[in-house]
């Protein structure tokens, strides 16, 4: 499946970056955590998001909380 191929590519990309820092055998031992990371990276990268969407800041949630409270007062 296309998704599996894309995930495999991301996994290889992450493992390659890891072997630049650590011994390959050591990286292989950590493979299950890299597989989970690759799956998450793949899902995030393929999710379509609007160009107006900015990263969340702590104030995002404060603003929502304050606005909600004002509405109910």
């Amino acid at each position: 499946m296309a998704g599996d191929l894309e995930k495999e590519k991301i996994l290889n990309r992450l493992l390659e970056a890891a072997t630049e820092r650590w011994d390959r055998a050591e990286v292989e031992k950590m493979r299950p955590m890299f597989e989970m990371a690759a799956d998450a990276v793949w899902k995030v990268e393929k999710f379509a998001i609007g160009p107006e969407e900015e990263p969340a800041y702590p104030t995002t949630i404060f603003y929502l909380g304050a606005a909600e409270k004002e509405k109910r007062l």
Partner: protein, 453 residues
């Protein structure tokens, strides 16, 4: 009740008795220490207990109580603290070799607030390594062959078994709600920013929350009232006013609840689904309006984006130590840091953009209801101690930072607890507590500590 049975009291019951001079802090402590002596070898709740320090403080507070002097609502109440909170003079190891000899020279803001309210810091409870995935040795009081959940394993098992009536934990993914549900108690994660994280060893700055463990919703409200409020030492701390949460639980009535079936019904096992259906029917008969709610588009990416943010920030926090002490980390933590260090920055930023969208969309949908309802976990506590269970029903609410609470809702055929989970609007803990208290009354699970077999 005999003094030696004082361990059975909830936080508010013990507090009332202390304030009325029917129970002394020393007698309460003695009862809890006996309970700990009996059960600790089976359950492994504590990394260290400050018996001498607690006894001295309890004696002092007992004298004060006799003179009618009370420091606050927690006067003389012993509490357990997850071993990631800075406690002056008391080792804080986060369940790791890395911090084996670390003794903080200041208290976390939460510890200071507990002490100012009169609480006695009894000791530090077991955690998974750095509140992540490598399990603690703690066992589930309902069946010692099962995990109590994690990462706040000791805090949940300690409250469940009556070693303490209240404890602090934390939640980045599902580390409060899941263990509370597995152990049949109340677990409460207020809004991100509501309680200071200053002096708590981080997993992920954007996702970490303080977690509260008690055996009743009223007790959780009392603790929130003590702990909440602005702290300039926490950059994410909110300066919104802190309402009197105990008043919220005194005005209860049937709520309007949005039922989240999508995803949660697909993932839950048959027993969990059946339990939830029974609970919905019971709440409906009692007057609650339970309506199906629809998840927003961004929910599809919430779990993955939460993971990206968590592992990338954890990697950033540990990077320097990891360079020289990689092999001192346990395997899952080592893999999490290593993989987090390889996540592209553009992916991290996109995960934060998804978080922004998710917060906005969830808030809009929640506006129609008092709370969302769903099971706290897909299944009761799994057998074995090698995993702390599945956090997937909790991670979205850590990701958006909304307040969430679990209350016990029944037992499986293997006599393991189920819990329901309620999610509320940001900074509206009053409604979450009010609805949870009403549900708690309608469900009637009970508040006694569980006696491990």
């Amino acid at each position: 009740m005999a003094v030696l049975d004082a361990f059975k009291l909830t936080l508010s019951e013990a507090s009332n008795q202390i304030h009325e001079n029917r129970l002394s802090p020393s007698a309460l402590l003695e009862s809890l220490l006996l309970r700990i002596d009996e059960l600790e070898p089976k359950l492994r709740v504590w990394t260290r207990i400050d018996r001498d320090g607690a006894k001295v403080t309890a004696e002092k507070y007992s004298k004060e109580a006799m003179q009618g002097r009370f420091r606050g609502p927690l006067h003389g109440i012993p509490v357990g603290i997850k071993d990631i909170y800075y406690t002056v003079g008391m080792k804080t190891t986060a369940g790791s070799k890395i911090l084996a000899d670390f003794v903080p020279d200041y208290n976390a803001t939460t510890i200071t607030r507990l002490k100012e309210a009169g609480a006695i810091i009894l000791g530090k409870t077991e955690t998974t390594e750095f509140a992540a995935f490598d399990p603690a040795p703690t066992r589930n009081p309902w069946n010692v062959e099962h995990t109590p959940g994690g990462s706040s394993s000791g805090s949940a098992a300690g409250v469940s078994s009556g070693m303490i009536s209240a404890a602090l934990g934390s939640q980045t993914g599902g580390s409060t709600i899941r263990p509370a549900s597995y152990c049949g108690i109340v677990g409460f994660k207020p809004t991100y920013g509501r309680i200071s994280r200053h002096g708590i060893i981080p997993v992920s700055w954007c996702l970490d929350h303080v977690g509260i463990f008690t055996r009743t919703v009223v007790d959780a409200a009392i603790l929130l009232e003590v702990l909440a409020g602005y702290d300039p030492r926490d950059t994410a701390s909110s300066n919104l006013p802190v309402p009197p949460y105990r008043n919220a639980v005194s005005k209860i009535g049937p709520p309007e609840i949005g039922l989240l079936k999508e995803f949660f019904y697909d993932m839950a096992n048959e027993e969990v689904k059946k339990n939830l259906e029974e609970i919905i029917a019971r709440l409906g008969r009692a007057g609650a309006k339970v309506v199906d709610a629809k998840l927003p588009e961004s929910f599809r990416a919430a779990h993955a984006a939460q993971r990206v943010v968590m592992i990338t920030e954890a990697a950033a926090f540990h990077e320097e130590t990891f360079r020289t002490r990689m092999m001192d980390y346990r395997p899952k933590m080592r893999g999490m840091i290593a993989s987090g260090l390889t996540v592209p920055i553009s992916t991290y930023i996109k995960a934060q953009r998804i978080r922004g969208q998710f917060i906005r969309e969830m808030n809009t949908i929640l506006g129609q209801f008092d709370c969302f309802l769903m099971p706290a976990t897909p299944a009761p506590a799994p057998k074995g101690l090698e995993s702390t269970g599945d956090p997937n029903f909790n991670t979205p609410w850590s990701f958006c930072g909304f307040p969430t609470i679990t209350i016990p809702s029944g037992l499986s055929k293997d006599r393991l607890p189920f819990g329901i989970q309620l999610v509320g609007r940001p900074f509206d803990e009053e409604t979450v507590l009010r609805v949870a208290h009403w549900c708690e009354r309608m469900i009637g699970f009970g508040k006694d500590p569980h006696n491990p077999e």
